[in-house]
């Protein structure tokens, strides 16, 4: 029998303490984000640091609060695949508008975060 046809097994129970620890991590990570954004000395590496911290928060919420860590592959695929396409669309739009077609819209046009 194939592995994709069976009765649903109950997800393991996650205790309140796990949720509170994750919540604590979220507070700490957000505090780090805000602090980093105010430290001028970190300006050259600020973008990658902020991106990494945001990804960490995103992953914690998705894995523990949305229970993806405990879900079946079907449910994980239903989130990860659209997320990958969404990321691809974002990267493509940035590339198309802010880099590849710069010459079409005149000088001085480009991403201004950096």
């Amino acid at each position: 029998m194939s592995d994709d046809t069976y009765l649903e097994e109950p997800r393991p129970h996650i205790s309140n303490s796990v949720y509170l620890i994750v919540g604590g991590f979220l507070i700490v990570l957000t505090a780090m984000e805000i602090t980093v954004s105010y430290i001028h000395a970190l300006r050259p590496v600020m973008v990658p640091i902020l991106v990494v911290l945001a990804i960490a928060k995103f992953a914690l919420i998705a894995m523990f609060f949305m229970h993806l860590r405990y879900e079946k592959w079907v449910v994980n695929t239903m989130f990860v695949f659209p997320l990958t396409i969404a990321l691809g669309v974002f990267i493509a739009m940035m590339g198309l508008f802010l880099y590849l077609s710069r010459h079409l819209v005149g000088p001085g046009f480009g991403i201004h975060y950096f």
Partner: protein
């Protein structure tokens, strides 16, 4: 042996009775499908008449049968109608709706009332699109089915033409996404025992991939249409170059939807052909696994090819090359399919029914359309041919020669199952030959006209251009094609009135849909079948797959119908509901309110929708109660059907927000002057971010509480979560008001409109989440929320956490990264 007591199915009265009411409130997927068919065939007649009027106009050079303005309206409505109101509803709403539950051995779709709601919204959306014609100082939409900006801006197209198109497509889009969520949950979670993914009929596979395409492609169109709405009604300028924006943004958003849309229409057609050929060749489908993988690959690649519609906009050599390569790559999986179909037919014991005629013709006609498509994937070739009649020839060979041929074949193949009556084969053959002659005569000369330089969308041409004869030939053939449609309509009516009775398995079919009566009972199957392999009904009849059936059939050993086993358990079917039609009517009224700019009408529509949604939520079954069919549904894939539905919606939302965020980043960089992102304050938003994150913690605590049946703490955590959500919203409103006081109105510049749109859209999601949580709180206080309904809390929680992670991105990208520049 004692006789077993007879168990009767429990079916609501309206399933068994006819009459208008039973159609208005039905939630039966088969009845909903038939309503889709009736509506789409009506729209098909309208779209066909529009096409014939276009052809009459082009019959003579310098013809003034139609004005230029009316010509624009007709080609706009022809494209819009055929794509959104005919092909998609016929494939998804009619065939897939009727057949998916039957093919996978289910009693209905995952969410029957949502299915009815999708239909009514589609119907009201279709009517809305056509209303402009009857409007004072109005007319049909007139900017093409692609609605290129900035032609669609109010200063270039005043009046209500585009308003009807914009709002009508938003309404129809809502219906399409709902259908996609429904089908995805149905296919993933409601397959019969033994129906593994790699045993699913190929039509179901193509529908699974198609609905994923819809969920990931439609958000881009929705965002584009919302921007257009904001431009036309709120003075924004998302597509106005003079404000620093670019009309090219529309093209990216539209084709990001538009090219996957081609496969949204083509893949189900591939599935239809893959069902018909094995039946009429009496052979299993050749290369089933490769067919499945090629469908998935086509869908995946279709997201990376939208730029080939935009070579002429000057995206630059790198982008052009990338889009050219991905576009050409699609030929590989498509070629696999074509060769597999040929190999399926090769050496088979062919029965040349009308359905088989159309299936075989499909292979040839679609291949012609596909080959010209490879030509346009080359930018230098495309630059010569774009906007000429060769493009019109290409996409009609794909969408008519491909998709419409498959639809015609599907009518002859599955109509007996759906209605219990055969379509007349003689009329069918007549229709086939009229279609082949009419279609090729109409569209093949367009290749030549295009090479001669005849542009698309011109309403007339000069006699000295030398285009007259071929245009006249095309017009004559177009009327032959119209005659073919007329034959189909006559055949359908004739069949409904006194068509020959159809057996349960008139074609010696292979799938589960042939294992039940024609037409199927309301509950589809007395007992849910057990699936032992691909082509499950064929295996039931002949013992195993392969060519054994051919030999048996040739020897006259035609198997007898498999007798229905007695019911072993009662069958509960969902009750009918009037709320879907109320909600759809509310959406229609709201759209109308925007057209006439009477905001009380908008509020009235919104109120009707709200009351309809609340009514539907508490109507049946009692709030949050498990229904027998959803318990059944949880068999496959190990995921609850409602959770799968919500996750598919969340997946779609990922693309929705990705598009909004991309636009924000692109336009922030183009903002012509202050105020800009420097106006944003970090401290207050940091506070609201903490509040929102903590609300997520409270939500999971509420879930844990209800899972251990601790109703008091569940209530406390839910109230806390709702209050935190309201604090977040309060801070956002305060922030918006303070920016407005500082001179940053919505229309001030590119930054302001993008900021308010992105953050405001997220805020709207938070507000919906807050309302959802308050509904749970009310349910809890009225004793309707206990451990058995913990899934209701989990569902609200999933949505809430998703809104939370979107804010994690917005907070970083919009607020904190601004510090990088300001530092």
């Amino acid at each position: 042996m004692a006789a077993q007591p007879q168990i009767q199915p429990i079916v609501e009265a309206s399933y068994l009775e006819g009459g208008l009411i039973s159609w208005l409130n039905t939630v039966d997927h088969k009845k909903v499908a038939m309503m889709y068919a009736a509506s789409s065939l009506l729209f098909l007649a309208l779209g066909g008449i529009e096409a014939l009027l276009i052809r009459v106009q082009l019959f003579y050079p310098d013809n003034h049968f139609l004005s230029a303005e009316l010509y624009n309206e007709l080609f706009t409505m022809h494209g819009t109608t055929m794509i959104f109101l005919v092909v998609m509803p016929l494939l998804l709403g009619f065939f897939a709706n009727f057949l998916i539950p039957l093919m996978i051995g289910a009693r209905d779709v995952a969410f029957p009332r949502l299915n009815a709601l999708s239909f009514w919204i589609f119907l009201f959306g279709g009517i809305f699109l056509h209303l402009g014609f009857f409007w004072r100082n109005g007319g049909f939409p007139n900017a093409g089915w692609f609605g290129y900006a900035n032609l669609t801006e109010r200063m270039y197209t005043p009046g209500t033409h585009i308003d009807f198109w914009d709002i009508g497509l938003i309404i129809s889009g809502v219906a399409t996404v709902m259908t996609a969520v429904n089908f995805l949950a149905t296919i993933v979670s409601m397959r019969a025992p033994g129906m593994t993914f790699m045993r699913m009929p190929l039509f179901v596979w193509t529908m699974l991939v198609t609905v994923v395409l819809i969920l990931l492609a439609f958000p881009a169109l929705t965002v584009g249409l919302i921007f257009l709405f904001l431009d036309r009604f709120f003075g924004a300028h998302f597509y106005q170059a003079m404000a620093g924006a670019t009309p090219i943004l529309w093209q990216h958003l539209f084709w990001l939807f538009g090219h996957p849309e081609v496969y949204i229409m083509a893949l189900p057609a591939f599935g239809i052909i893959s069902e018909m050929l094995p039946t009429f060749a009496r052979k299993p489908l050749f290369g089933y696994p490769m067919m499945v993988y090629s469908v998935i690959l086509i869908a995946f690649l279709s997201y990376g090819v939208w730029g080939h519609h935009m070579f002429a906009t000057g995206m630059g050599p790198v982008a052009d090359s990338a889009f050219a390569i991905t576009s050409m790559l699609i030929a590989i999986p498509t070629g696999i399919k074509i060769f597999s179909w040929i190999a399926t037919v090769w050496g088979g014991s062919l029965r040349m029914t009308t359905a088989m005629y159309f299936a075989l013709a499909f292979i040839l006609e679609f291949t012609i359309g596909g080959l010209t498509g490879i030509m346009f994937a080359s930018p230098p070739v495309d630059l010569q041919q774009t906007d000429s009649y060769i493009i019109v020839a290409h996409f009609h060979y794909v969408l008519f020669g491909g998709v419409a041929f498959a639809i015609f074949g599907a009518f002859y193949y599955w109509w007996p199952k759906m209605t219990g009556r055969m379509l007349d084969e003689r009329l069918g053959k007549l229709e086939f030959w009229l279609t082949v002659i009419g279609f090729n005569g109409t569209f093949f000369p367009m290749h030549i006209l295009g090479q001669w330089g005849m542009p698309r969308r011109i309403y007339t041409y000069a006699p000295e251009m030398g285009w007259t004869f071929l245009n006249q030939f095309e017009t004559v053939c177009a009327f032959i094609l119209g005659l073919a449609f007329l034959v189909l309509y006559i055949n359908i009516i004739k069949s409904l009135i006194n068509g020959e009775r159809a057996a349960a398995d008139p074609w010696d079919g292979r799938g589960l849909e042939w294992a039940t009566t024609s037409p199927p009972p309301a509950y589809n199957f007395g007992n849910i079948p057990n699936v032992r392999g691909r082509d499950p009904f064929w295996i039931t009849k002949y013992g195993r797959a392969g060519s054994r059936g051919v030999a048996m059939y040739a020897a006259g050993q035609i198997p007898k119908p498999v007798p229905e086993e007695p019911l072993t358990e009662p069958i509960h079917m969902p009750a009918p509901s009037f709320f879907p039609i109320v909600i759809a009517a509310g959406l229609f009224v709201m759209g109308l309110g925007w057209i006439v700019l009477w905001y009380r009408l908008v509020a009235l529509g919104l109120l009707a929708m709200f009351l309809g949604i609340v009514g539907m939520a508490f109507e049946y079954p009692t709030f949050g109660q498990e229904t027998p069919e959803t318990e059944e549904a949880s068999r496959s894939a190990g995921a609850d059907v409602r959770k799968v539905g919500l996750w598919s919606f969340i997946g779609s939302e990922c693309l929705f927000f990705a598009t909004l965020i991309s636009t924000y980043v692109v336009y922030k960089a183009r903002n012509p002057g202050p105020p800009g992102a420097e106006i944003l304050g970090i401290p207050l938003t940091s506070f609201s971010t903490f509040v929102l994150l903590m609300s997520s913690v409270l939500m999971v605590l509420a879930l844990n509480a209800i899972q251990r049946d601790d109703r008091v703490w569940n209530r406390i955590w839910l109230i806390g979560c709702a209050l935190f959500g309201m604090i977040f919203l309060g801070v956002e409103i305060h922030e918006f008001y303070s920016f407005w006081q500082q001179g940053m109105a919505y229309q001030t510049n590119l930054f302001s409109q993008c900021f308010y749109t992105l953050v405001g859209t997220h805020g709207t999601h938070v507000a919906i989440g807050v309302i959802w949580i308050w509904v749970l709180i009310v349910a809890s206080f009225t004793g309707k929320l206990d451990k058995s309904r913990a899934l209701s809390v989990e569902m609200a929680g999933l949505y809430w956490h998703f809104v939370d992670i979107v804010w994690v991105i917005i907070f970083t990208l919009v607020y904190l990264m601004q510090q990088v520049k300001g530092a």
